[in-house]
Subunit: 194 residues, 2 copies
DNA sequence: AGAAGGCCATACGCCACCGTATGGTTCTCC
DNA sequence: GGAGAACCATACGGTGGCGTATGGCCTTCT
């Protein structure tokens, strides 16, 4: 719940607005991206906004691009650059990515607004990139392509569902860190079963 | 995309409005539930709405209650009333429920609006009921309580994720029915592994 | 120092939606 | 077949958000 827009910075950048838009999406979905309320949160007015952006749509585009890069490019780069056993890499990907998902609510919010064309396009790219990464990991782990794809789909579905649970009804998820570890172990065991 | 509100029925019931609200939620999230557009779709005016409901909030409550009953009570009743091997019941639950999920977009839309108190409450009840059912199935299948709970969580996460994928980027899911069968087999195998 | 342009506040018209008020239809039941 | 209730349309004021216009400040460069 950190609100980085509090510091008394006078002049705002385009990125400040995009970031605020992402915060709004996480909090209330696409519909929550409204220029005037955003301006209020940033202690500015529409005058500032409409200098940086042509309109609300342009802001959405910028926010989506920002999210897409942050949640795909960065993580995927980190994992592919990693070495070690496939099982280890899978484990690290999961722990890493689950941590991110539990903090960031933008993804779930966007999934609900897949009706919007631009959102659908961004989701499509992100989804394929992520699944592609997981498929590669399973293939490295020795699964045949078709089987690897199925397992990757299952793994990614479980990831998405976990992210949803984490931000909608987190109480049902294991809280204590030992329980979390046991759960992760079990998930990995199931996902990598014969 | 069936729009059941087309038939030239003159007078509307409370349930007609609730149903239209659910359709709107599925299409555009909570924010899409707007009285006047809904009235237009139903070929009526606000005059009708405000006779049946006190305000927009009352409509949301009614819609949520309707969804909650439909997606919990009904399915759970059907499965618990079922007999047969645990594995069979699990399989039938999955096929049954995945079919529903792929058609109905209300769940994903609500997950994105968990910020709303009433939505959170409904989600909490639905989530617990569903997970409870799955836990019971895994226990019947011979898993110890803790392990059954972990597996149920994984299964339910996968289900949620699958629902998300089905309505946001369905292209990544297996399309042909043989592929779907192979995928389902693999998922069941993974979920019920040692 | 002063001019130019980057950055922002204020004020305005517009539209979509909410909720209310009020009067008209259309059922239902005797 | 007429009274009362159920149901609905129309019209209205209020609010919040979008986008534009315009003028002012603040920085930067010369």
């Amino acid at each position: 719940m950190a609100m980085p827009e509090q510091n008394p910075r006078r002049r705002l950048s385009r990125d400040d607005w995009a970031e605020a838009a992402l915060t709004a999406i996480a909090a209330g979905g696409l519909a929550a991206v409204a220029v005037e309320p955003l301006a209020a949160r940033l202690h500015a007015t529409k005058g500032s906004f409409y200098w940086h952006f042509a309109n609300r749509d342009a802001l959405l585009d910028a926010a989506l691009a920002r999210w897409e890069e942050r949640t795909t490019t960065d993580v995927i780069g980190e994992i592919t650059a990693m070495d070690g056993e496939p099982a280890d890499r899978l484990r690290r990907l999961i722990t890493r990515v689950v941590g991110i998902a539990e903090r960031d609510a933008v993804g779930p919010a966007l999934l609900a607004t897949a009706a919007d064309e631009r959102v659908a396009a961004a989701l499509d790219r992100v989804t394929r990139a992520r699944i592609g990464l997981i498929v590669a990991l399973f293939e490295d782990a020795g699964f045949a392509p078709a089987a690897a794809h199925r397992r990757a789909l299952l793994a990614y579905s479980a990831y998405l569902g976990h992210a949803e649970l984490a931000h909608s009804t987190p109480q049902v998820l294991p809280q204590a860190s030992e329980e979390r570890r046991a759960y992760l172990d079990d998930v990995l065991r199931a996902l990598t079963a014969p």
